[in-house]
């Protein structure tokens, strides 16, 4: 089919034809078209149904302020709801569907809502669906969501990727119209780094839509020439298809670049969109102005649009919504549209001007002092009813009506840090106020400078002032003064739309006032005016004006709501960027990871580390089989576990020992060189923070370990203590966690195994290297290593550290050399079982609520010295005798379960919170004990060993009879680890 409403000229590329579909019909368009312009060229005005009343709607505007022509763009998983047809760049194969209509766009069942409009006024939902409360979630909400709502989600995973990026510049220019181009030229010619961003795919702004000349050539040609020059300037970055969505703190701007939205599918490896964070020393807002409509009865029919948009479609896109058009205006702008359309061969049925002194025209009839008071047409506009100055009324047939109520400076970004625009009487519009985001200035129409020359000059001056450079020469252009006389709505109208996207009418605003909503913020929320995806760019002012009139106030007295980021809607995917699922979730691999993978290890994530949880052998069907075997084999002979993940912090300096004395509640000053000591770190409030060991390698050199999960936090805390509390201690800290592969070698044969890898000059005998010894050694013929004789399992155990790159080979060597002892690798589960059997506290016990006393380490808190947390650990409330104490728990019936999180109750008496005696923190099956065991905090627990209690877990419906025991289930005297 040909394009019946396609005009001559324009900035489209007629040499290429693009095929696209809308609502199942196939149409043709050209490169340079938007979906909306191509549809209009194809004589399609009806593009959607409204949100609440399901009224037929077509485009109101030609840009991103569009409230009506929103569609579901693309198909399948790429379907995107609520996309503005007025900004969707046409590409070959584009598929769009209208939304919010069923069964079809032309025959929409829910249009019945329009007949029920008397019931669906402002506050309808609040008033109607109040009671009973339970009905809301189950009944009302699902129905309302189905009936209202806009587009629908595909419910499939988005196949596209989104990038984030970071840019820096001296000057960010937002908007590439007359002002923005001159600003970029000014900055770029001076060699200053400048970013010019425009949401449009072509730079030029209104210059593309007008038939006026700049510098002796067509405005669009001048724009193209300026862009060509900017492209040659090395300090200029041109960013078309890029919307600056927000002005944030300290000159940081968010900008969304639509890299691939004009393509059917993004190129391989390329993102669909990039969310840029732009660090701008200065920013110049050149966002132009947005035309405002006039409210009259039934002003929302497809074909009724802004007069400036009609001009844009005709001049830039060579498209018109109809061949016979009328204009309704209160200012000269409407006449400009009429003249341009006439020049394009469109029949101007009438220009209806509210002003009695409106200018005449030779080319079309001008109705002075007249108003459009109603419209007709079921699915699109057929005629308008006009009331003449003398009060007579008559119909004028037309397929489209251009409406102009004047222009509003686009102040959106000036409000992003709570700046409020101020009223300008001469323009009858809000202009940017004084409280702009720091570093921002405004130029051109966004500042209320509406002439082309004024825009060019203010852009050049704005950039020059912001950067302290000279302004570029400004080309000649139209400089006629622009005045605006306000005319907001036609007297007596009721179902006259202000906010077409949220279906808010003049009647709703009046009702809201009548019901007592006097603040603009209340008006907005009660009527939902301006709360749709367009943020009321074309509607807010109209609502304010009507509210002001009803209240008998001026518009500035009523005040204004402010705009918030983002300027236009942003896909959630763009905010997520590459961070979807596991993607870009940093993973830390231990030095033995590849070896463990080969062994078929099952991994668990701990503090971003992947740790081997257990190592299943062929034939083992349940994880418990593997874990029990690993525990038994370690306790019987020897096992090896990768414990690289424990934080390791190098502490050096003359005051290193004094520093550790401050850090740990127990003393370190007297620790001998070559020895390791367990340390407990408290928070300043006296609660346990972390534990670990400190090994003294030299008088002025310690290596401190932290728990895996707390490594970062503890390091931060240590730097705080060092820099902020004791700034002149001579102590230096470096994290060395990843530098060393560290393996626990545990079990009765641990020494024998180590003797096979440690170089012979190092004596590992119990006398030479006793429990809690440490030292720098060499292994495997001269590789530097560290050895610590510490035990988490309770067995004879060592931790051996070698440089991380040799960790893989070291583990393989330990397995080879250990074969004669039937060595096993063990994972974090077996590690956990053995530490519970031994009664060692871990993260479950150091849970941010427990004290040293509760952990059974009360006596460790030194009374001879000050350390972090000492003073507050002595508080009365933390030292009650009836307080919680760490104990062991075992079931009376060995077959019963112990569950972490379960609470302990007295053997008799009520089971409720008031009688709670404590809770289980850790539980595991102990192969040695032949039953599950647990660690628990119980009131006065240390004095109640042997007492029978009940373990309950109402959540899992568990009640088990248990007995309190020492937390040291295995080798309580510690003979094994000292062997």
């Amino acid at each position: 089919m040909s394009q019946p409403n396609r005009l001559s000229g324009g900035l489209i590329d007629r040499s290429a034809e693009l095929s696209f579909s809308f609502a199942g019909e196939i149409y043709k368009g050209h490169p340079g078209d938007t979906l909306a312009s191509a549809l209009l060229a194809n004589d399609v005005r009806l593009m959607g149904r409204s949100f609440k009343y399901h009224r037929p709607r077509g485009p109101l505007a030609a840009g991103s302020e569009e409230p009506n022509a929103i569609v579901e763009l693309r198909s399948g998983a790429r379907r995107e709801p609520n996309t503005r047809a007025t900004t969707a760049e046409l590409y070959d194969g584009l598929v769009a569907e209208p939304q919010n209509c069923w069964p079809s766009l032309r025959l929409d069942a829910m249009a019945i809502n329009d007949k029920l409009s008397n019931f669906l006024t402002a506050g309808f939902y609040y008033k109607t669906f109040m009671w009973p409360a339970a009905f809301w979630e189950k009944l009302y909400e699902p129905i309302i969501r189905k009936a209202a709502g806009l587009g629908s989600l595909s419910m499939e995973e988005d196949p596209d990727t989104y990038d984030k990026g970071f840019l820096h510049c001296d000057l960010l220019v937002t908007g590439g119209g007359a002002a923005g181009l001159m600003a970029a030229l000014t900055a770029g010619r001076a060699g200053r780094s400048v970013i010019l961003a425009d949401e449009d795919f072509t730079f030029g702004g209104r210059l593309l839509a007008e038939r006026e000349s700049v510098g002796g050539m067509a405005g669009a040609d001048w724009a193209a020439q300026a862009v060509a020059e900017l492209a040659t300037l090395p300090s200029v970055r041109l960013m078309p298809r890029t919307t600056v969505i927000g002005a944030f703190d300290h000159g940081i701007h968010g900008a969304l670049e639509r890299v691939s939205d004009h393509l059917a599918v993004p190129a391989e490896g390329k993102p669909r969109q990039i969310l840029w964070r732009i660090y701008a020393e200065q920013s110049l807002l050149c966002a132009g102005a947005i035309e405002r409509p006039i409210a009259f009865e039934n002003n929302d029919r497809p074909g009724i649009m802004l007069a400036g948009a009609l001009r844009t479609y005709a001049n830039r896109y060579a498209a018109t919504p109809a061949r016979r058009v009328a204009i309704f205006t209160c200012n000269d702008n409407g006449h400009r549209s009429a003249a341009d359309l006439h020049a394009q061969g469109i029949e101007i049925a009438a220009v209806i001007d509210t002003r009695a002194d409106a200018p005449d025209s030779d080319n079309y009839p001008v109705h002075k002092g007249a108003q459009v008071i109603d419209s007709r047409g079921r699915l699109d506009l057929k005629s308008v009813r006009v009331r003449e100055a003398d009060g007579t009324e008559h119909m004028i047939p037309c397929g489209a009506l251009g409406v102009s109520g004047g222009w509003n400076p686009n102040v959106h970004l000036t409000c992003h840090q709570r700046g409020r625009p101020v009223w300008d009487d001469a323009l009858s519009a809000f202009v940017p106020g004084k409280d702009l985001p720091p570093g921002m200035t405004v130029a051109g129409a966004a500042r209320g400078i509406f002439s082309t020359h004024g825009a060019l000059a203010s852009g050049a001056d704005g950039a020059a002032e912001a950067l302290g450079i000279a302004a570029a020469d400004v080309p000649t252009a139209d400089d006629a003064p622009v005045s605006q006389t306000p005319f907001w709505y036609v007297e007596g109208c009721s179902r006259a739309w202000l906010d077409q996207q949220n279906d808010v009418t003049v009647k709703d605003v009046k009702l809201s006032h009548q019901e007592g909503f006097r603040s603009v913020e209340h008006l907005k929320r009660y009527t939902t005016l301006g709360m749709a995806t367009d943020q009321g760019k074309t509607s807010n002012i109209g609502g304010l004006a009507i509210m002001a009139e009803i209240a008998g106030k001026s518009i500035p007295e009523v005040g204004t709501t402010i705009f918030r980021p983002p300027y236009t809607p942003v896909a959630i995917g763009a905010f997520a960027g590459r961070m979807r699922g596991k993607e870009f979730h940093p993973t830390r691999l231990t030095p033995s990871h590849y070896w463990a993978e080969e062994r078929g290890a099952v991994f668990v994530e701990v503090g971003n580390w992947l740790r081997a949880q257990w190592f299943p052998l062929p034939g083992e069907k349940h994880w418990r089989e593997s874990v029990d075997r690993e525990v038994r084999a370690t306790r019987a002979s020897v096992g090896v576990c990768d414990c690289t993940t424990l934080g390791k912090i190098d502490v050096q300096g003359v005051d290193a020992a004094a520093f550790l004395n401050k850090l740990y509640c127990n003393g370190f000053a007297k620790l001998a060189v070559g020895k390791v000591r367990y340390g407990l770190m408290l928070r300043e409030d006296g609660i346990a923070m972390d534990d670990g060991t400190a090994a003294r390698l030299a008088e002025d050199h310690f290596v401190v370990t932290t728990t895996t999960a707390n490594a970062g936090r503890v390091y931060q805390h240590m730097e705080f203590v060092r820099q902020c509390l004791f700034p002149d201690m001579d102590v230096q800290l470096v994290s060395t966690t990843e530098a060393w592969a560290q393996y626990a070698v545990a079990g009765p044969n641990a020494r024998k195994l180590l003797q096979k890898v440690v170089d012979p000059e190092f004596d590992l005998s119990n006398e030479a290297f006793p429990f809690m010894a440490c030292g720098e050694i060499t292994v495997c013929g001269g590789l530097r290593a560290r050895l610590f004789r510490i035990s988490f399992s309770g067995e004879l155990a060592y931790e051996l550290a070698v440089p991380a790159r040799y960790g893989d080979a070291m583990m393989r060597r330990l397995m080879d050399e250990g074969a004669e002892f039937d060595v096993v690798p063990y994972g974090t589960e077996a590690l956990g079982v053995m530490r519970i059997e031994k009664g060692h506290a871990a993260g479950n016990e150091l849970n941010g609520t427990t004290t040293a006393l509760e952990l059974g380490m009360g006596r460790m808190v030194s009374t001879k010295k000050d350390s972090i947390g000492t003073v507050l650990s002595k508080r009365e409330g933390l030292n009650e005798e009836a307080g919680l104490r760490l104990v062991g728990v075992k079931p009376l019936n060995p077959a019963d379960r112990i569950t972490a999180g379960g609470h302990l109750m007295n053997a008799g008496g009520p089971v409720d919170a008031a009688h709670d005696q404590g809770y289980v923190t850790s539980a595991a099956y102990s192969p040695d004990m032949g039953s599950m065991i647990g660690l628990a905090f119980v009131k006065s627990g240390d004095a109640r060993l042997g007492e029978k209690m009940r373990l309950v877990s109402p959540v899992t419906d568990l009640t088990v009879d248990v007995e309190l025991a020492s937390a040291h289930f295995i080798d309580p005297e510690g003979g094994r680890q000292r062997a």
């Binding site: 720091p438 300043e684 970062g712 730097e719 705080f720 902020c724 002149d728 000050d866 003073v871």
Partner: protein, 95 residues
């Protein structure tokens, strides 16, 4: 936000970790007779000003310096950034 690091110049706040009120620098004397009360106040009592606030930030993704940042909690304007170590020394925390 951007924090103007005294040594490294303007840095994005994503490189930093926030701790809170800079009075955390004023750790009381543990040997003073009213130490318990002083530590209680130090540990738990904070002002919550709408306006300038001195607060501690840790440059975790940078040079690992603790900084004292004076930030207006209403406007986010940052008027001063100091090395916490220098501030601590000026407060007489040197041992």
């Amino acid at each position: 936000m951007i924090i103007d690091h005294p040594l490294l110049g303007p840095r994005d706040s994503s490189e930093f970790v926030y701790l809170g009120d800079a009075r955390m620098l004023d750790r009381p004397d543990p040997d003073a007779p009213d130490a318990a009360r002083a530590f209680y106040e130090y540990g738990y009592l904070r002002d919550n000003p709408a306006g300038p606030h001195r607060e501690l930030w840790f440059h975790e993704g940078g040079d690992r310096s603790w900084l004292v940042v004076t930030r207006d909690t209403v406007t986010h304007e940052i008027t001063r950034v100091e090395m916490a170590r220098d501030v601590a020394r000026a407060k007489g925390r040197s041992t």
